[in-house]
């Protein structure tokens, strides 16, 4: 009996430890769904960035840097853009959070949101720059700016949902 309990317990623990990674992969898939709403297509929020940022802040042990790399690679492969700039953007977001981790641990929800705005601006800006260099052309930053606004507006909804999910996990 104890061995069985031990097995289930171990599976449960493994499931909890890999779930942020897989939830963020699911977010990438979610951002691919065709929504069929006019003019929404260029300003789909960068959901993977929200996921990476959130778990880098709240569970940095479950969102290690190589997981961020894999998520970025998955996202770049599926969106069809140049492979590389998206990965670097996510890595920079993760690195910025880890650098200031002590600050985040003591911060309230709205402060974390404001920090997300700064981190997202850096990540998306770097992605834009590298994509422009890779394609050797000046990409119009206007649609990217609107994507940034939609992403920062989306952050509180997703963060709230994830926080509730986390509390469920740690009942």
């Amino acid at each position: 009996m104890r061995q069985e309990e031990g097995l289930w317990h171990r599976l449960d623990v493994i499931a909890r430890s890999i779930s942020p990674f897989f939830v963020t992969l699911l977010l990438v898939l979610l951002s691919l769904l065709p929504l069929r709403i006019a003019d929404l297509s260029p300003i789909v929020p960068a959901l993977a960035l929200i996921g990476v940022f959130f778990w880098s802040v709240h569970r940095p042990d479950l969102m290690p840097i190589w997981a961020v790399f894999v998520i970025g690679l998955f996202q770049d492969l599926l969106t069809g853009s140049v492979i590389g700039p998206g990965i670097v953007g996510l890595l920079i977001a993760h690195a910025l959070v880890v650098w200031q981790l002590r600050f985040f641990l003591a911060a309230s929800f709205s402060v974390v949101w404001v920090a997300f705005m700064l981190v997202a601006a850096a990540a998306l800006g770097v992605t834009w720059l590298l994509t422009s260099i890779a394609l050797m052309t000046y990409l119009d930053p206007a649609p990217l700016f609107f994507q940034y606004l939609v992403t920062t507006a989306f952050y509180p909804c997703l963060a709230w949902a994830f926080l509730r999910g986390q509390r469920l996990f740690h009942r």
Partner: protein, 301 residues
């Protein structure tokens, strides 16, 4: 191995801090390396990409069906409120279209007669394959969509993808079960076109905006707003005469074309299987022709 540590703070020893900083540089360097590989060895990137989209497309297919049904229900409900006005408009449109159908039939007969007369080489046959759009990555950097048909269904690289309104894009990558369509508006899209009644040749180049630009027009071409833009068929890649759009602006930002396709309501794409192999298959064709000639020469000897 990941250890479940709850929400405790992980105090990093100096060695771990150094290792994690090293990991960041290493991974950023790996990302740059991928960027370089992506620009030089495109086959590797394509194969990886199509393998990943093949894995993901069945999931997207399953999920997007209820999304489509749901938005279809909403559209039905909306249309109920405008029934009688729509009915009247449709009746008028029907009458106009019947007239056009008669004109088209007459022209078709005339065309066939003239071709016969001139002993003209017949246009290769066109057949269509219909696929659903299951993925729309959006974003500011690319304009592509994923469809749920692949090599198994007969999709090949370079085929045109059209909707009922006009040309939407071109098949850029093909997997076993999925394919990626590069839309007209994407920055990498270049389509040879003819413009207006004078049928001036030009190239329609996308730039990730909603109105692609016409490039390489000859110096004597006079293009006005409202001119009709269709595919020219040059290069043999696209069949000629596919409607693309109308010229919407002539000015400092270049000559802009407003495509006919309604991007927001692009649920289904028709892939045109054009029997003429274009420049993409040129080398394979030349190789096959040479092999056939060599075999014939040997048999002759």
């Amino acid at each position: 191995m990941k250890k479940p540590t709850g929400s405790e703070i992980r105090v990093a020893s100096p060695l771990k801090a150094w290792a994690s900083r090293f990991a960041l540089l290493l991974l950023v360097g790996a990302a740059f390396g991928l960027m370089l590989i992506g620009r030089t060895n495109t086959f590797l990137v394509e194969d990886t990409r199509t393998a990943v989209t093949d894995m993901v497309t069945p999931i997207l297919d399953a999920v997007s069906q209820p999304v489509d049904t749901f938005s279809g229900i909403i559209e039905q409900a909306e249309s109920f409120t405008r029934l009688s006005a729509e009915n009247q408009a449709l009746r008028e449109q029907n009458a106009r279209l019947l007239q056009w159908q008669a004109v088209a039939r007459r022209l078709e007969a005339e065309n066939a007669a003239l071709r016969d007369l001139k002993n003209m080489v017949p246009d290769p046959a066109m057949s269509y394959l219909t696929a659903r759009v299951v993925g729309d990555p959006g974003g500011a950097f690319v304009r592509t969509v994923l469809i749920n048909a692949g090599e198994r269904n007969g999709v090949e690289k370079g085929q045109a993808a059209i909707t009922g309104d006009g040309l939407a894009g071109r098949i850029a990558e093909v997997g076993q079960r999925s394919a990626r369509v590069l839309l007209l508006t994407d920055i990498n899209s270049r389509v040879p076109v003819v413009v207006g009644e004078a049928r001036d040749r030009a190239v329609l180049a996308g730039d990730n905006s909603n109105a692609p630009e016409l490039l390489y027009l000859g110096p004597t071409a006079k293009v006005q707003v409202g001119d009709y833009v269709t595919t020219s068929g040059h290069g043999g890649v696209f069949p000629p005469g596919l409607p693309i759009g109308v010229v919407s602006a002539v000015g400092e930002r270049g000559i802009r074309v407003q495509p006919f396709v309604d991007w927001a309501h692009m649920e289904v794409l028709r892939i045109v299987e054009y029997a003429l192999t274009g420049i993409l298959d040129f080398e394979a064709e030349v190789g096959a022709a040479r092999a056939a000639a060599a075999a014939a020469a040997e048999a002759g000897q």
